[in-house]
């Protein structure tokens, strides 16, 4: 199992959350709104490729819409492998964050 980078993790979560409408621009909008940072298309595109290569997401061509000048979207979907990875990641992080929260931060500083 490959480890995910922070960015890949964010994109994977976004794809999962967007469910059936996850395509490049939707992901961009979603992430921009949530993180309040400017996400360019290129920055999302690369993790998408990586994730697809690692088998966490799969892509398929969606329906055409007039808004896109009649072109089809490339839609992404989290695979079962991806879901499992997300769950594992969540468990791992929860454990680590729990330790972080239990200590007194001000004392450490």
């Amino acid at each position: 199992m490959d480890t995910l980078s922070r960015r890949e993790e964010q994109v994977l979560l976004a794809v999962w959350d967007l469910q059936d409408s996850a395509y490049l621009l939707a992901i961009q909008k979603y992430l921009t709104q949530l993180t309040r940072k400017n996400w360019s298309v290129g920055i999302i595109h690369k993790p998408l490729l990586q994730l697809e290569k690692k088998g966490y997401i799969s892509s398929f061509m969606g329906a055409a819409t007039a808004k896109r000048g009649g072109r089809r979207k490339k839609l992404y979907k989290v695979t079962s492998l991806g879901t499992a990875e997300l769950q594992a990641l969540k468990v791992e992080q929860d454990v680590m964050w729990k330790n972080f929260m239990q200590r007194d931060i001000s004392k450490e500083a």
């Binding site: 395509y23 490049l24 621009l25 298309v41 061509m61 055409a64 007039a66 808004k67 896109r68 000048g69 009649g70 072109r71 089809r72 979207k73 490339k74």
Partner: protein, 854 residues
């Protein structure tokens, strides 16, 4: 849907195309969709202008990025391929050397011939109105004569009658002696009409073209002649003495004619003031004539019109007609067929064949060598290279070699140009124009493709498993290689046979009895004052014991340049025909050793011979339909009425007045005692020829101090009629040698390769007791079989080709089957000599060496 349709037509559809080119096919659609969506979003928020700018900046970035990637990968692969190629060349030094050199020689041949053809085809192209320029040709009823010489007034007449003809001029060839102060030269020139300057594109340096040929005393000369005559002085307005008693004032100086001009002259005189014709259809004074058609007139239409006019004016000659020959054909095609174009075709074929032989060689050796590279191919395939990649690699390798050959070929050409120039009698130069370079690159490219295609396709198709396990699937290629070698040798044999047959025909021409004795005869052109003194000089020269005979004639013996009409009237019929004619003196047939068939020749004992007597040749007797010619009366056409009736007093045996391409034509000899002689012929009998010529020159100078005496030998003049045949003979000899050498190189490569493949077999044979000669013969047998097979293909082909060449001669030798056998034998001999050494070496090798590593 409406919306979508509209959107497809937006300017960004171009951007989409670009995007499609830059990205992979599946990505393109969704990516362009995404881009479109963003663009639309932007244009809603910040205006369509900004959105457009953003969109295009994205496209441009995409272009640069994909271009960069393409460059990086391709240059990397190129570098790897070229490294590979270079290693292969170095690993097999001898093969590569033979390969590249063979191809370079073939290409050099091809390039040289191309250069020559290009030069010949460039003739007369400098005339601006080339498409409209035409020469008038007269075709007679027999269809044998296509004569460019017509009465000098016809062109002017046609110009007045037919609006299609814009300009017209005579070009009456003149050879005159031009003298200014003490400087005197014999020059070639034309009588021309004032239209000349508007028709032909020859820049006038001084003088007014409109008036330069307007008077009888006008003389237009070329820059070269002006320099020779006047040296530093200004030419315009100078008075020059022109032979035959006229003085002219220089009214114009022309730029020198380009080398590739079919009009060749030093001076022009005004035709209207020097003509002798009184009537348009006067046949005494005939010249070449050119017309310039109106733009848009077709020359076939005009041909028809003028030929009708001719028939109307000359009733009774319905089968004779005038037609126009385009100026662009004047140099290349003789009227009535043949001419230089035949040789251009022949040489083009030769160039093609030699290149083919070189290509075959290249293919042969390449496949042979590349079988050594099967392992490399196997490994590459296993590692994952696709077939297309392998094909590309091989093609680029062969392309590299063929361009290397091209480079070598160009060097060779540069080296050989001067000697080839002298060989064909034309100075060639290698001016690298874009067009020519394109030609050559094209040749190299095609050669690379043809020679590379076979190995590339065959070798890349092998399965890696069979290659790597050592099962070499080669049966197919071996058979093909045999076919190639047979083809190569067939073509070489074709060249050998051609060279032999052409040499035989040239020998035949050389030894053919022309009807006159051509050896030891010296020709002296007679110009100017010399014409008046000719009888004195004759008598004086005859005192020299080494000069056995002298005669004078109005026309050159070896060139048919003057003709007239002759008619024989009987009670039943009138027969008339065009005959060649010459005015001669009493000693003509004696000096030139022409035989007499019937009657007598002109004699001083019959003073009446000077008028109303004719001597015909046998062909003329036949053409006029006479059975008993002596004493018959014939009339010649001079002007419209037939005039000068005379009696036939003798018939001479046929003699050749043209090259042997032509049948002997009717000819009439007329006695002349006037001063109209242009040629003097001396028969000399001495070992010290230059001494005699010196004496002749001295005695002429004694009478006319400044006279420029020139000599030519009659046999050389005859030889010059076969200039192109001679060139062909020389060139085909070289090409033959080159073809054989290239073929043998190929054979050598193959032989050494096949020996290498069968080292083990030889070893086993030897251990089992085979003798050295037996093994050598075993190899030779194979090659001998191929060469014999090649002979069988070459013979019929050669027979057909040479038959067609020989048919161009009215008088020709037979081909001789022994030449064919000789050619085959020669090819066999060279093949055996090439292979022999190699097979003996292989046969003598110690079997221990070859079998040790089993």
């Amino acid at each position: 849907m409406m919306f979508k349709k509209q959107k497809v037509c937006t300017p960004s559809s171009l951007g989409e195309k670009i995007l499609e080119l830059c990205s992979s096919r599946q990505e393109a659609e969704s990516l362009s969709g995404d881009l479109e969506e963003i663009r639309r979003d932007l244009s809603m928020r910040k205006g369509s202008l900004l959105a457009g700018a953003w969109y295009w900046s994205q496209i441009v970035r995409a272009i640069f990025r994909s271009l960069g990637l393409w460059l990086i990968w391709n240059s990397t692969m190129f570098w790897i391929y070229s490294k590979n190629t270079w290693r292969n060349i170095r690993r097999q030094k001898i093969y590569s050397f033979i390969n590249i050199l063979g191809l370079a020689v073939g290409m050099a041949c091809c390039i040289l011939i191309l250069l020559w053809i290009q030069y010949e085809k460039s003739y007369d192209r400098f005339h601006v109105h080339l498409d409209q320029l035409n020469r008038i040709i007269l075709q007679d009823e027999t269809g044998q004569f296509h004569d460019p010489a017509i009465p000098g007034l016809i062109p002017g007449y046609l110009k007045d009658e037919y609006p299609d003809i814009a300009q017209a001029t005579n070009l009456g060839r003149q050879e005159r002696q031009l003298t200014y102060r003490k400087r005197s030269f014999i020059c070639q020139g034309y009588l021309a009409d004032p239209d000349f300057f508007q028709m032909f594109t020859i820049p006038i340096l001084a003088g007014n073209p409109e008036t330069a040929l307007d008077s009888g005393s006008s003389l237009v000369i070329t820059k070269d002649l002006a320099q020779k005559l006047f040296q530093e002085e200004d030419a315009l307005g100078k008075v020059v003495w022109v032979s035959d008693g006229i003085t002219c004032k220089v009214s114009g100086v022309l730029e020198n004619l380009p080398r590739n001009s079919s009009l060749k002259f030093d001076f022009l005189l005004s035709y209207p003031f020097h003509r002798q014709n009184q009537d348009v259809w006067d046949w005494r004074d005939i010249h070449e004539s050119f017309v310039l058609l109106q733009e848009g007139s077709s020359h076939t239409d005009v041909s028809e019109k003028i030929s009708q006019a001719y028939n109307q004016k000359n009733p009774g000659k319905t089968k004779e007609f005038l037609y126009l020959q385009p100026m662009s054909d004047v140099h290349l095609r003789a009227p009535g067929g043949g001419g230089l174009i035949t040789y251009i075709t022949i040489f083009s074929f030769m160039a093609g064949i030699i290149l083919l032989i070189a290509c075959i060689n290249f293919m042969n050796l390449s496949t042979a060598c590349s079988e050594k590279r099967l392992k490399e191919i196997g490994i590459k395939k296993v590692v994952g290279s696709s077939r297309a990649q392998l094909i590309r690699q091989f093609l680029s390798e062969y392309m590299f070699m063929s361009f290397l050959s091209l480079f070598l070929a160009l060097l060779l050409v540069q080296l050989l140009l001067p000697s080839v120039g002298t060989l064909i009698g034309q100075p060639l130069n290698l001016r690298i124009s874009w067009q020519i370079l394109l030609y050559f690159v094209g040749i190299a490219f095609i050669t690379g493709i043809i020679s590379g295609a076979f190995p590339a396709l065959i070798l890349s198709s092998f399965r890696p498993v069979s290659i790597l396990r050592g099962r070499l699937p080669m049966f197919g290629t071996a058979a093909l290689r045999r076919i190639l070698v047979v083809t190569q040798f067939s073509l070489s044999i074709l060249f050998i046979i051609s060279a032999l047959v052409i040499a035989r025909q040239m020998e035949f021409i050389r030894n053919k009895d022309l009807g006159f004795g051509k050896d030891q005869v010296v020709h002296v052109p007679v110009k100017g004052y010399l014409k008046k003194w000719i009888r004195t000089i004759k008598n004086q020269l005859l005192e020299n014991p080494s000069i056995t005979g002298i005669t004078a004639s109005s026309n050159n013996l070896v060139v048919w340049d003057s003709s007239m009409r002759l008619r024989w009237e009987t009670a039943e019929a009138q027969n008339d025909c065009i005959v060649g004619c010459a005015w001669v003196d009493h000693d003509f047939i004696k000096t030139l050793e022409i035989g007499l068939a019937d009657g007598r020749f002109y004699s001083r004992e019959f003073p009446s011979d000077t008028r109303n007597a004719y001597v015909l040749n046998e062909a003329a007797v036949q053409a006029l339909g006479m059975t008993d010619p002596i004493g018959q009366t014939v009339i010649r056409a001079a002007g419209t009425p037939w005039a000068d009736p005379g009696m036939v007093i003798g018939v001479v045996k046929d003699f050749h007045t043209q090259s042997l391409h032509e049948r002997i034509k009717p000819f009439v000899l007329i006695l002349s005692t006037s001063s109209g002689m242009n040629h003097m012929w001396l028969r000399i009998h001495s070992q010290d020829i230059s001494g005699i010529l010196g004496e002749v020159e001295a005695s002429i100078r004694e009478i006319i101090p400044n006279y420029p005496v020139t000599f030519q030998f009659l046999d050389e003049m005859v030889d010059r009629l076969y200039q192109y045949e001679q060139i062909t003979k020389n060139i085909i000899r070289y090409i033959m040698v080159i073809a054989i050498v290239i073929s043998c190189l190929g054979l050598l490569g193959l032989a050494s390769f096949s020996v290498e493949l069968r080292t083990k077999e030889i070893g086993i044979r030897k251990t089992l007791g085979a003798s050295v000669p037996a093994i050598a013969l075993f190899f030779l047998k194979d090659f001998i079989r191929w060469v014999i097979l090649a002979n069988l293909f070459a013979w019929p082909l050669a027979w057909y080709v040479l038959q067609r060449w020989l048919q161009r001669f009215a008088y020709r030798t037979d081909m001789g089957w022994h030449l064919f056998v000789l050619a085959g034998f020669l090819a066999l001999l060279t093949a055996v000599a090439t292979v022999c050494a190699h097979s003996i070496k292989a046969a003598r090798a110690d079997p221990v060496e070859s079998l040790r590593y089993e």
